[in-house]
């Protein structure tokens, strides 16, 4: 199946704050991505920025690929300025995606900011089975809350400034939930978000012996395993986030 595709921008609009929704139309239907997989997207027709940008898939509906992204640097700034009708080249779907929980497992989905994209697509697939924990610095960092609520068994929200949900971090609402649970054995964590959050969730998972998966992020050049730029330290030496990841067992990562 061809993974190097030309896509046409169908929609590129601001949702709130600096969060945006990008919808791409692809002519050939291509592979169906699984939650947790990503695409490399061209963000400029010039050589500056030169590299494509990795974005987790949010949704695929027929021939339309949807992504959520937050403006945080030159690449995403350029991407935000790209207009409807523009053709861009993309590579994907790439990476491994989240392994689905077993029948007996209770999935806890934990998202930070726009990291919710891949968590959302997983929640959608699990259909009212998952508890979702969603945190941001303020309410403007949170997107798609109502949609997530539709797919979640329960949605817990936290913001650093208390502008929505509980005041505090996603770790606070997660710990509160865990304290109310008897056994940790049947729980399985899925987490995507900024690095400090991943690290904190991993610490909780290790301490409480909860199984789980993290979606890692690292500077990436090729997205297909050739450049070795995006490695992450694991108990089995360096692994490529783009190829062996981006999803890793939460107990496999060595945090430095």
């Amino acid at each position: 199946m061809n993974k190097y595709l030309t896509a046409t921008i169908k929609e590129n609009s601001r949702i709130n704050g600096s969060n945006n929704l990008l919808a791409l139309y692809i002519k050939d239907t291509s592979e169906n991505p699984v939650p947790g997989q990503f695409y490399m997207l061209e963000v400029s027709s010039s050589y500056d920025p030169l590299l494509k940008r990795p974005l987790s898939i949010f949704r695929k509906i027929n021939n339309e690929l949807q992504f959520l992204y937050r403006i945080k640097g030159k690449g995403t700034e350029k991407l935000q300025k790209m207009r409807e009708g523009t053709n861009i080249s993309i590579i994907g779907p790439l990476g491994n995606g989240y392994p689905l929980p077993s029948e007996k497992q209770i999935p806890l989905l934990i998202a930070g900011g726009v990291g919710v994209a891949s968590i959302f697509s997983l929640a959608e697939k699990l259909d009212k089975k998952a508890y979702v924990f969603y945190g941001g610095r303020n309410k403007d960092e949170l997107v798609m809350k109502d949609e997530i609520r539709n797919f979640a068994k329960e949605l817990f929200i936290s913001t650093d400034d208390g502008s929505e949900g509980e005041k505090g971090t996603v770790i606070d609402i997660l710990n509160k939930f865990l304290d109310s649970q008897g056994s940790m054995e049947s729980l399985v964590i899925y987490v995507c978000g900024p690095l400090p959050m991943l690290r904190a969730v991993a610490e909780v998972a290790v301490n409480k012996k909860i199984a789980g998966y993290i979606s890692a992020e690292e500077n990436m050049a090729c997205g297909i395993g050739a450049c070795l730029g995006c490695v992450i330290k694991t108990k089995h030496n360096y692994k490529r986030v783009c190829r062996e990841g981006p999803v890793f067992s939460i107990h496999e990562i060595i945090w430095e």
Partner: protein, 314 residues
């Protein structure tokens, strides 16, 4: 000076070149470190179409590489400090070569060491492996025994290393030059005089990027190698200079994104080109470049690619 032919209707072009005894069906190769061990890109392109595959640099024993961040984007380029992570010659021969042998494309193995002995051990192992067609000696790494002098920046150290490796292999020996020297022609000449069959140039240019908020280097290794279109004019200039200084063939490398870029190198005197960072941006880059070179030659009425190599008017 050869002028271009005038039969503009011909659609048959001979793209084959000979690089130090290695016959290639076209001059387009993949630059080491940007194409993995070949398999990564076989999902995207037909490896049989390539002139040659130059694989990721190999050391005799595996290397873990540097901590992250290993890459950072810069204007029209990128800095990398991967730290030569690789699986080692033995694992390459066992695990990667059988796949590459399935293709009709020559395999050039890039190799390095931090002592002359290590260079020799790798060269010996790779030379006796079925499916290795040429060696590319990466002299950009430091020589531990000589007090961390970079092999490729000290003419005496480099000369000794190249002549030692020369004695260990009958395969075509390509020496990959670093641009981080005062006079590239001196180094090209040392390679030639020490027995290299060809030179490839340029390797990345040493660079640095800084996080201004934290006031720290962005790369964990502090400095890295700059590649991409940003370095192309430097590379073209150096190829042109080296072409005048040596008789052995040159493989031009540095920011080649399109057929036009590749043709600049060929006209400057390169007999082949290697495409690097472009693979990251566009996995089809090498094939588009081969097709683009052919199209250009047809348009110009040139039947043989060798007629444009070194055809620069100055």
């Amino acid at each position: 000076m050869k002028l271009f032919g005038n039969n503009k209707n011909s659609s048959t072009v001979d793209l084959s070149v000979n690089i130090g005894g290695l016959k290639l069906k076209n001059p387009v190769m993949t630059a080491s470190g940007t194409f993995g061990y070949g398999a990564e890109y076989s999902e995207f392109i037909d490896l049989n179409r390539l002139g040659a595959i130059i694989v990721k640099g190999l050391s005799y024993t595996p290397r873990e590489g540097n901590p992250v961040p290993r890459i950072v984007e810069t204007p029209a380029g990128m800095l990398n400090a991967i730290g030569l992570q690789n699986i080692g010659t033995e694992a390459f021969i066992k695990e990667k070569l059988p796949f590459l042998r399935k293709f009709k494309t020559p395999v050039i193995t890039n190799f390095f060491g931090d002592s002359i002995d290590e260079f020799k051990k790798s060269a010996e192992a790779l030379s006796s492996a079925d499916g290795v067609h040429a060696l590319e000696m990466n002299i950009s790494c430091p020589n531990k025994k000589a007090g961390w002098i970079i092999f490729g920046t000290d003419p005496k150290v480099m000369g000794k290393a190249v002549s030692s490796v020369r004695k260990t292999t009958k395969l075509p020996l390509i020496v990959k030059l670093t641009p981080n020297v005062t006079d590239i022609c001196v180094m090209a000449k040392v390679a030639e005089d020490s027995g290299a069959d060809a030179i490839s140039m340029i390797n990345t240019i040493t660079g640095m990027a800084i996080d201004i908020r934290r006031r720290t280097p962005i790369l964990a290794n502090v400095v890295g190698g700059l590649s991409g279109p940003a370095i192309r004019p430097v590379a073209v200039r150096m190829v042109w200079q080296a072409h005048k200084a040596v008789k052995i063939p040159i493989i031009g490398i540095g920011g080649i994104m399109t057929a036009q870029d590749a043709l600049e190198f060929l006209i400057a005197g390169a007999r082949g080109v290697a495409v690097g960072t472009a693979n990251f941006v566009n996995p089809h880059a090498t094939i588009e470049i081969i097709d683009g070179i052919e199209k250009f030659l047809i348009e110009e009425g040139v039947h043989n690619i060798n007629d444009i190599i070194g055809s620069l008017w100055t």
